[in-house]
């Protein structure tokens, strides 16, 4: 979505414009739904938390600060929102909760195309290899190539600078490449 349109939608939303809110909802619901599933691995938790999250945003719209781009704000605040809910749930069940392990994104076999654009990635076990990467690298890969966010937006979400996003992504791709080529040796 266009950045300038973002700014406009955000402003209309702050003025209580329900139509602007529906534009926002339609754009970000699918992305956040997927993101929520990746983190919570539970559909009910994801969908309930998303409803509550959007209501939370709507109700405090007047106190929201002005934004140039919406995505980073929504992703970070939704993650925080979701983790809080998961923390509460874990307490109820006396489960040990650590953010590190729980925010670890996992990719399914079906999500990874076997026919990759880059030839070196055409591998049946790509999802396994990708899931083995460090959490930060996976998150960068997810936000960039799955969600389609821009590097600047990812930088905000991951709270690192632009150059680090590129470096992290590159490390991920490089690691993957090496893993794939090692795997090919044993074929």
């Amino acid at each position: 979505m266009n950045k300038l349109t973002d700014k406009f939608i955000w402003k209309s939303l702050k003025d209580g414009d329900l139509k602007a809110f529906s534009v926002l909802f339609e754009t970000y619901y699918p992305l956040l739904h997927n993101y929520g599933l990746k983190i919570s691995k539970n559909i009910a938790v994801t969908e309930d938390s998303l409803q509550d999250f959007f209501i939370y945003i709507y109700e405090k719209r007047e106190n929201l600060s002005d934004l140039e781009t919406i995505a980073p704000y929504l992703f970070t605040s939704y993650r925080r929102f979701l983790l809080n809910i998961m923390k509460k749930n874990a307490k109820l069940k006396y489960v040990d909760f650590s953010e590190e392990t729980i925010t670890d994104i996992e990719f399914t076999k079906e999500e990874l195309m076997t026919n990759q654009e880059a030839e070196s990635f055409r591998n049946k076990n790509l999802s396994k290899l990708l899931n083995k990467l460090p959490a930060r690298q996976k998150e960068a890969v997810y936000l960039k190539y799955y969600t389609g966010l821009k590097a600047r937006e990812i930088a905000e979400i991951m709270n690192i600078n632009y150059q680090s996003v590129v470096n992290t992504l590159h490390k991920a791709i490089k690691n993957l490449k090496e893993e794939v080529s090692i795997l090919k040796l044993f074929k």
Binding site: F8, K19, Y29, E59, V141, V166
Partner: protein, 329 residues
């Protein structure tokens, strides 16, 4: 978009021609980059890295369906509407105060309107197309026999009679909403390009890009997504047509000076000609009425337009007074 200096990985990644080369998409870019790489061997490592990142990984994205999103939206809407009625009850005692405030506001605004308001009207005659740049930077192409008016202090609210294509400036879309009003409906714009065609019977809106809401005269509303074509009549108080148009150019070609007909009966095509040039159409026989026409004709030159039609279908067109008389050859 070819830059001269490529010193770090971002310089490559931000260059669309580089991405085209990485994906082997565009012959010119492929040639350019192959030449460039051959001549800059010291950048080979950077190029490889940047190519890896540009290609990245491709996913089968598993997002929820739009039906699901709509369902969730309805849930959400119901929830906040219920909450609203509760808070309204609490605030009832504030009502007299707010009425007084709105009266004061009305008086102030009324005064403002009296002193400030100059109405600006743009009008076109038959066979004329006008490009207008509004004060806020938005572009409007006004079709023949149409008029567009607005108040100088409120240039983002325009009244339209006839047909116009709008490209609302996104840079300034942050200031205020853009509105197009016709006899049948109003279009509420969220930074976008679209076509509005209003005549006596109806108003038809085609959205090319972005997002708009239609607010109908009967109080209903509808959101449009790109490709949607909706026509509405306030007389009948109903939506006449709601469809998806994949070939946008058929809807918007008029602004570049051509009318495109695709498998249209000559009767329908000539009614568009009637709207454009203001000549009444008379068919001498049924057969020519039902002839199917496909092709492009100009909309600012009637003589060439007639010749083009005569050439593409087997009819003869005679221009007489204010009429076009059509008969089989």
């Amino acid at each position: 978009m070819i830059k001269k200096e490529y010193n770090n990985i971002l310089d490559f990644l931000e260059d669309s021609s580089f991405k085209n080369w990485a994906e082997q998409n565009n012959a010119t870019d492929i040639n350019y980059w192959e030449y460039w790489i051959a001549n800059n061997p010291e950048k080979q490592e950077l190029v490889t890295k940047a190519k890896d990142l540009a290609l990245g990984l491709s996913f089968n994205k598993d997002f929820v369906s739009s039906d699901k999103v709509n369902l969730e939206w309805t849930k959400f809407e119901t929830k906040i509407k219920n909450k609203k009625t509760v808070s309204k009850r609490k605030l009832r005692y504030l009502k007299p105060l707010s009425i007084a405030a709105s009266i004061a506001l009305l008086i102030t605004f009324g005064f403002y309107f009296f002193t400030q308001n100059t109405k600006i009207i743009h009008k076109t005659s038959y066979g004329e197309i006008l490009n207008i740049k509004l004060l806020d930077g938005s572009n409007v192409t006004l079709n023949s026999n149409s008029s567009l008016s607005y108040y100088k202090n409120e240039s983002r609210k325009v009244w339209l009679k006839g047909e116009a294509f709008f490209q609302v400036d996104k840079k300034l879309a942050t200031n205020a909403k853009f509105w197009v009003l016709t006899n049948d409906l109003s279009v509420e714009v969220y930074g976008t390009s679209f076509n509005v065609n209003s005549n006596k019977e109806k108003t038809a809106v085609f959205l090319q890009e972005g997002s708009v809401w239609l607010d109908f005269k009967n109080g209903g509303d509808k959101k449009m997504v790109p490709g949607n074509y909706i026509s509405y009549s306030s007389v009948k108080s109903e939506i006449l047509e709601s469809k998806n148009i994949t070939n946008a150019i058929l809807q918007t070609s008029w602004k570049d000076g051509t009318l495109l007909f695709e498998n249209l009966s000559l009767e329908k095509a000539m009614s568009i000609i009637e709207q454009t040039y203001g000549y009444a159409i008379v068919f001498k026989d049924l057969e020519s009425k039902n002839t199917i026409i496909t092709g492009a004709v100009p909309n600012t030159n009637l003589d060439i337009c007639i010749k083009a039609i005569e050439k593409s279908v087997d009819v003869k067109i005679i221009k007489k007074e204010n009429k076009l008389i059509i008969s089989k050859k």
